[in-house]
């Protein structure tokens, strides 16, 4: 009997042969003692394997359902705490042009009204990048890369300050209610998956500089708000603010164009899979960035606020990643029972691996390995495979 014919013995046992083949094998078995004996032994092996009941350690099955549930809840909460990632590289240019056109269609009539009464106060800012792209002026829906966002931010500030120095009349009060009453733009398909525009503020409700300084780190904290900025924000700043924060968090180790692994935190875009409740939590996270005071943001616990801030951070270089790693570690120490604790432990390890990638310091890798081993030894570790893969990728180069 050839090797292939012998392999058909397995299929004969399992009744997976066509009738003609089955007949051939049976004819052979009738004449070949060796194959008949082998067939008998193989059937015995199956029976023996079925006879074995595999047992788990004592108490294992009492806790598994609860742990599965906790893991699902934790991943759902963690995904909800993350803002959606920018999808600029996935969205065709025409989509943004269409979004800008829609926004202009809404804003332009109101702007023209104000132009008729006063020097321009709310015209869209056309940046050199816009000119180079030939696209509509950048407004809220232009999610850019980190660098572009920061550059644009500086230019916008410079232009605003220049405008502020020009003598101008205050926009008529009658115009302001009209601006405030402008409907928020419809979410654009393919654009950010959650409405980014916070509720438009009525005149005088723009966050105080102090409150803003309490918001997201870095960009806003150091710049005192001028009167022009406050006026502009009251009219359109809610939309503009999103531009700067739009670059969002960068998950350590994530490639630019590839979403994180399926079902995990950082999967892009996270809110596609999140329930509606997650979108509410994201809006709350946006409010945090706006510097809404803690008393106004009672719905978001402190650990979630800190978690969201850390997720949004943009470390750079080996030193930056080391610092980020230490911040994650500090979060875990401060909130060991937080629902984000497991994710924070994993991100501690991932930040350490990023530090190693950035600086090639073997101590960073050694430290990450030690932390990974400690994590993998935990009974409550819910993402061991993710940690293993991160280590494998880092060590694989």
């Amino acid at each position: 009997m050839t090797a292939h014919e012998r392999e058909r013995l397995a299929a004969w046992i399992d009744d997976e042969l066509a009738p003609a083949e089955r007949a051939e094998v049976e004819a052979h078995l009738a004449a070949c003692e060796e194959c008949a004996a082998l067939l008998g032994d193989m059937e015995g092996v199956d029976a023996l394997a079925r006879a074995v009941r595999v047992e788990a350690p004592a108490g294992y099955f009492e806790t598994l359902p609860r742990r599965v549930r906790a893991r699902i809840e934790s991943e759902t909460h963690a995904a909800a705490a993350l803002p959606p990632r920018p999808v600029r590289w996935r969205v065709p240019v025409w989509t943004w042009a269409a979004a800008a056109a829609v926004l202009l269609a809404v804003v332009a009539p109101l702007t023209l009204d104000r132009l008729n009464e006063a020097p321009p106060a709310a015209t869209p800012v056309r940046t050199p990048e816009d000119a180079a792209r030939g696209s509509a002026p950048s407004l809220a829906l232009d999610a850019t890369t980190e660098t572009d966002g920061r550059d644009r931010d500086l230019e916008v500030r410079a232009k605003r300050e220049t405008r502020a120095q020009r003598p101008r009349e205050e926009p008529a009060d009658e115009a302001r209610p009209a601006l405030v009453a402008a409907p928020a733009p419809e979410p654009i398909e393919g654009g950010p998956s959650a409405p980014r525009t916070p509720p438009p503020s009525s005149g005088g409700e723009s966050p105080s500089p102090g409150a803003r300084e309490g918001g997201a780190p870095g960009r806003w904290a150091s710049a005192p708000e001028t009167e022009a900025e406050a006026a502009w924000r009251a009219g359109e700043g809610a939309a503009r603010d999103e531009t700067v924060g739009a670059s969002g968090p960068r998950r350590p180790g994530a490639k630019d164009d590839v979403p994180a692994r399926e079902g995990t935190l950082g999967a892009s875009p996270p809110l596609v899979d999140a329930p509606a409740k997650g979108r509410v939590a994201t809006t709350q996270a946006v409010e945090m960035q706006e510097g809404v005071s803690a008393s106004e943001n009672k719905a978001v616990p402190e650990d979630s606020r800190v978690f969201a801030r850390l997720v949004r951070a943009h470390p750079a270089g080996a030193a930056g990643w080391r610092e980020h790693r230490d911040e994650w570690r500090a979060f875990v120490e401060a909130h060991p029972r937080s629902r984000h604790a497991d994710e924070a432990r994993v991100r501690t390890i991932e930040a350490g691996l990023e530090a190693w990638r950035a600086g090639a310091d073997p101590e960073d890798l050694a430290r990450a390995r030690t932390e990974a081993d400690a994590y993998l030894a935990r009974d409550d570790a819910g993402q061991k495979e993710r940690v293993r893969r991160a280590l494998a990728e880092a060590e694989g180069g």
Partner: protein, 195 residues
């Protein structure tokens, strides 16, 4: 449809709507089977625990793709088997030999000597399973223990039915050589039938 299937369908329908306690009950019903599939393939309790959790979490996220009314067991076992094979393919995975006594042989219907021989046969089978390549082991477990068809196994592991047949034969041949001394003249275990 039997009452049990109706009950399970009801639970899964609730779970689909986001009812986590209902899904927790589903987990309770299938955890042993899922863990068993995982453990037989990955050969480590820690890995099997990971695999079992991931399989259920994945099932939760994919419930909208599950056809209500069909048996849930084969579906979740396929997810678990897939996860288990992916685990052993991972360069960081470690297969620790299972401790002695991790498995229980069903009560022998024969003499005390038969019980001893059964236990020995099981240990020899275990050791032989350990030496199989992970994918052969996965194919064997899904066929011999879960009794999946070749087509189901092929779909689960991303193989052709011909490859399933080939790997299954090689796995059985190797295991049969290892436990042959413990098998009776007709190739059956010495005491009692399997399942």
């Amino acid at each position: 449809m039997s009452a049990e299937v109706r009950d399970e369908t009801f639970l899964l329908a609730r779970a689909r709507q986001g009812d986590l306690p209902a899904f927790e009950e589903v987990v309770r019903r299938y955890q042993r089977r899922v863990y068993g599939v995982a453990l037989r393939i990955v050969r480590s309790h820690a890995l099997a625990d990971d695999v079992a959790q991931e399989a259920f979490v994945k099932a939760w996220r994919s419930l909208d793709r599950f056809e209500l009314g069909r048996p849930f067991g084969p579906w979740i076992c396929r997810i678990a088997a897939n996860q288990a094979v992916n685990h052993v393919r991972s360069p960081r995975s470690r297969e620790d030999p299972l401790p002695e006594g991790h498995a229980e042989v069903r009560a022998s219907q024969g003499s005390p000597l038969d019980a001893v021989l059964d236990r020995e046969a099981q240990q020899v089978l275990d050791a032989a399973l350990e030496t199989l390549p992970a994918e052969q082991r996965a194919v064997f477990v899904l066929r011999a223990v879960e009794e999946m068809s070749y087509a189901e196994i092929a779909e689960t592991l991303g193989l052709s039915p011909g490859t399933v047949m080939s790997r299954l034969f090689r796995a059985r041949e190797k295991l049969a050589r290892a436990v042959a001394p413990y098998l009776g003249p007709a190739g059956r275990p010495r005491a009692g039938e399997g399942s």
